[in-house]
């Protein structure tokens, strides 16, 4: 057996499917004012934060769940969910990693996220979120030296209320769509990043999300602010245990780039996709939006979506500052009964703004994949341009691949170009690879990796290797 086969053997089943037996503190089931107050109270939040949540809740009552998406799902009973779940030992937050519950540490070790700094080889600062709370943030000292703030959202609300108050909800307002507003009302934790003026963050920042408890939703909120002339690269990874029920994950991620700043946001999403019959799995309904607020700013989204029963998200860029740039690179893979409706929105408001969209969709088994995107060039966005390319690869005739781009050009100085293709792996390519000694699965792996190369290149090195493997594993059993 060569190493790849071993890898596959080892990972054939969803390897993150274990649960951790930890005592939890949960908010009472259901969604109401009291639960929101409970969450706010347990996190010792100031009054303005509670007001923010209640305002969102009032708004939520008026909103209807959207239903225009392609993958339909059974109605979610929002009153039958726990909106807060935290390991008991986190109630009084540990001061250092030594005080952390060993079971938690064990969990993260299984996931391959070493929280103990001494055990780390690759200098990536990690913020780990377990169900509803952030359990540990590593490399704090090193970051503080540069004036970088990287901590959990709850901590930021306590320690840096000025920054949070100024930026929270400016990109995704409380009056946004249903799931974003739901998140605004009940969000529990997430990461907060602030990069001061002129600082290039010396290491990759990373958050690891894990849903552990059953019948809970995870509602995290991430806010990243890159001040003038700064740079940050941020990674996000996700896993969840195998359960028969569907679990909801409705996060909000807000990025703000001021003048000359650059934010690179990469996601490797590997939530539990459900079993091969489509039972269980995560509903990944996430709102991610970046605002290029300043001149010459840049926001770049890279995502590798392999998990979740249903993925429904559109990481977007609002290009408000002149000369700002938005990029979106995506690989979405669906297998078995997974469904995805994903893409991006590029909204050009400033002059000379540029955006680029590269989307690669692969569907296999009985899955269904939709690319849905919007490119909107406003009448004031002179001399702007967009380039979009979305390619789909189909494996078998039980799956579907769809492309739904919306293109709006209101500016005669601007150019929009869009291309899309749909194809399958050709017999010639397979034949060529097999002739040179690869078995059919290896051949498919090679071709698929070639198909995704443009996007994989955008990932930071450490993640690129992992993502490449993930691509191979996700398509396991779909060939032949």
């Amino acid at each position: 057996m060569d190493t790849r086969e071993k890898d596959i053997e080892k990972l054939k089943d969803y390897k993150y499917g274990f649960t951790t037996d930890i005592e939890n503190i949960k908010a009472p089931k259901g969604l109401n004012k009291d639960v929101i107050k409970f969450i706010s109270n347990i996190k010792k939040e100031p009054k303005w934060m509670l007001d923010f949540r209640l305002k969102a809740y009032e708004r939520l009552k008026l909103l209807k769940e959207p239903n225009w998406q392609k993958p339909k799902y059974p109605k979610i009973n929002y009153q039958d969910l726990y909106y807060y779940s935290a390991p008991k030992s986190m109630k009084d937050k540990p001061k250092s990693l030594d005080e952390l519950d060993p079971k938690l540490l064990e969990t993260y070790k299984k996931l391959g996220i070493p929280l103990q700094e001494q055990a780390r080889l690759n200098g990536i600062a990690v913020d780990a979120v377990f169900d509803s709370v952030s359990v540990a943030t590593t490399f704090k000292g090193e970051l503080t030296k540069h004036g970088i703030i990287f901590c959990s959202m709850s901590e930021a609300i306590q320690k840096y209320p000025g920054l949070v108050k100024k930026y929270l909800g400016t990109v995704i307002p409380v009056t946004d769509h249903f799931f974003a507003t739901l998140n605004s009302a009940v969000f529990t934790d997430g990461s907060f990043v602030y990069i001061p003026e002129g600082v290039k963050c010396p290491m990759e920042l990373s958050t690891y999300f894990r849903i552990n408890a059953s019948e809970t939703g995870q509602f995290e909120r991430t806010l990243i602010i890159a001040d003038k002339g700064s740079y940050v690269s941020y990674l996000e990874g996700c896993t969840a245990p195998m359960r028969d029920e569907n679990q909801l994950h409705a996060a909000n991620v807000e990025l703000i780039a001021l003048d000359d700043a650059e934010i690179k946001y990469s996601t490797v999403q590997n939530w539990y996709p459900g079993d091969e019959n489509g039972k269980g799995g995560i509903y990944n309904f996430v709102t991610k939006r970046g605002l290029c607020k300043g001149k010459n700013s840049k926001i770049s989204w890279t995502q590798v979506e392999t998990g979740s029963a249903i993925t429904w998200k559109y990481p977007s860029c609002i290009l408000k500052g002149d000369n700002s740039i938005g990029e979106f690179y995506s690989i979405a893979i669906t297998n078995n009964h997974q469904k995805a409706d994903t893409g991006t929105k590029m909204i050009h408001l400033g002059k000379n703004t540029k955006s680029k969209i590269i989307s690669k969709g692969i569907s296999a088994g009985f899955s269904d994949m939709t690319y849905r995107g919007l490119v909107d060039i406003n009448s004031k966005a002179k001399n702007s341009s967009n380039y979009t390319q979305c390619d789909s690869l189909l494996m078998g005739n039980k799956c579907g691949a769809h492309t739904v781009p919306y293109i709006k050009n209101k500016n005669f100085d601007s150019n929009i170009a869009h291309e899309a293709t749909t194809s399958k792996i050709s017999e010639e390519q397979l034949h060529y690879c097999q002739q040179r000694g690869l078995n059919p699965e290896e051949a498919v792996g090679l071709i698929v990796n070639g198909f995704c190369k443009e996007v994989l290149q955008q990932l930071p090195m450490e993640f690129a290797v992992e993502a490449q493997k993930l691509v191979g594993i996700s398509l396991e059993g779909s060939v032949g």
């Binding site: 225009w68 009448s379 789909s392 189909l394 494996m395 078998g396 005739n397 039980k398 799956c399 579907g400 691949a401 769809h402 492309t403 739904v404 781009p405 919306y406 293109i407 709006k408 050009n409 209101k410 500016n411 005669f412 100085d413 601007s414 150019n415 929009i416 170009a417 869009h418 291309e419 899309a420 293709t421 749909t422 194809s423 399958k424």
Partner: protein
């Protein structure tokens, strides 16, 4: 509006000599329309141009009753010169003349259509409106192995006697095995501020060929909606060309069902718009079986305050292996107030297919203008030459040489 609808409807059914059953049927369509009203932008298919708003703004109150008891005078100056053709003449929505004098009368049948074929697209309230108010519907049958010698031109004309009216037309065509029809829809308007709603249903049997050219060139203040439903059997070919340039509002919808193997559909369109014009083409091509082909090319030239939209959808069923589908839309925006919207959509459930789409929009290429001006043309001439070339590309796709020349003359394109 609802009371008005009911009143006008009662007036019409009283004057028409139709059976009780038919009145019932029409009433059910009216009920459906009253329920849904004119489509608005909340509906996905009407996202870019909201017809209910446009009617409100451009016309105001519509009246649905037309008095068809008296014939209108046919103004022969509207006829197309230099092309021998058969004629069907609609004036203000009333059929004034049907003339197939060039053809073998035994090979064509024209019937008053009693029973109606309305199985398709029940989500569209404008079709309900059409079904409720059309007073006379014809079916034209081209018999087996017969190709019409001359093209058929349907004149859609209005005179100054009507205003703020809703006109509904409906025609059915059946092309039997190995037959061929060239059909031109020719619009010329003297009336203002009317809403014309046209519904065509085509049934193409094996090896038949349909070529439909819709020419809306002359500037007028009417709003128009046209829906073509095309059912295609084995080895049949449909070709649709749309010139969208004359009316204030025009939406052409083409729904094409490729039900037979080796059938193919071609849709080509040109938008040439300015001053407050808002036009749209929406096409749906359904590839239901193996080895079918579709090709679409849409180009827009958009002047001041104009807006065009293209929504193209290719659906490929899981059975429809070896499908070949292609869509391309391009737009030139000439002014800062012009706007182009597109939604080219692919929905694919089969793996062995070749499907692609492309869309590009922007201003005229400065380098090309510079090149032409450096060779002695002035700015205006260079611009015209580039636009000429841009549009010629689509017109060249017309397979019928006679009609291709006619269209070139109408648009004013040079080779």
């Amino acid at each position: 509006m609802n009371e008005k609808l009911q009143l006008d409807f009662d007036k019409i059914t009283k004057t028409l000599k139709i059976s009780e059953k038919e009145v019932k049927l029409k009433e059910s369509f009216l009920k459906k329309f009253i329920e849904n009203g004119f489509p608005n932008k909340k509906q996905e298919d009407w996202k870019f141009l909201d017809i209910s708003q446009i009617i409100k703004k451009n016309i105001g109150d519509l009246s649905f009753f037309n008095d068809y008891s008296l014939p209108n005078k046919i103004d022969s100056s509207i006829f197309v010169d230099g092309l021998e053709h058969n004629k069907i003449i609609f004036i203000n929505g009333r059929i004034e003349k049907i003339d197939f004098s060039y053809e073998d009368q035994n090979r064509i049948e024209i019937n008053d259509l009693i029973e109606k074929n309305v199985k398709f697209n029940t989500e569209n309230s404008l079709i309900d409106l059409n079904n409720a108010f059309t007073n006379k519907s014809f079916k034209i049958l081209v018999k087996k192995n017969y190709s019409l010698k001359k093209p058929l031109i349907i004149y859609h004309s209005t005179n100054d006697k009507i205003r703020s009216k809703n006109i509904n037309l409906s025609l059915n065509f059946e092309l039997e095995e190995n037959s061929c029809l060239r059909l031109i829809d020719y619009f010329s308007d003297n009336a203002e501020k009317n809403f014309v709603n046209i519904l065509y249903n085509f049934n193409l049997k094996k090896y038949s060929i349909l070529k439909n050219y819709k020419l809306d060139k002359f500037r007028n203040n009417n709003l128009k909606y046209s829906f073509n439903n095309i059912e295609q059997d084995d080895n049949s070919i449909s070709e649709t060309f749309i010139l969208s340039a004359g009316s204030d509002y025009l939406k052409n919808e083409v729904n094409c069902n490729l039900n037979g193997e080796y059938s193919s559909a071609f849709i080509n369109g040109v938008f040439s718009l300015n001053e407050n014009q808002q036009h749209e083409i929406r096409s749906t091509i359904n590839h239901f079986v193996e080895n079918t082909k579709s090709y679409q090319l849409i180009k827009s030239v958009l002047g001041k305050n104009s807006k065009s939209a293209y929504q193209g959808r290719i659906f490929v069923d899981s059975k429809a292996q070896k499908t070949d589908g292609y869509q391309l839309s391009k737009a030139i925006l000439l002014d800062e107030t012009s706007e182009f919207n597109a939604k080219p959509e692919l929905e694919i459930y089969a793996d062995d297919v070749k499907c692609s789409h492309g869309s590009a929009s922007g201003s005229l290429n400065e380098d090309s203008i510079f090149y032409l001006m450096s060779r002695g043309l002035n700015y205006q001439q260079s611009k015209e030459l580039l636009i000429n070339g841009f549009l010629l590309d689509v017109v060249e796709k017309i397979t019928d040489p006679e009609i291709r020349n006619l269209v070139k003359n109408i648009i004013g394109l040079k080779e």
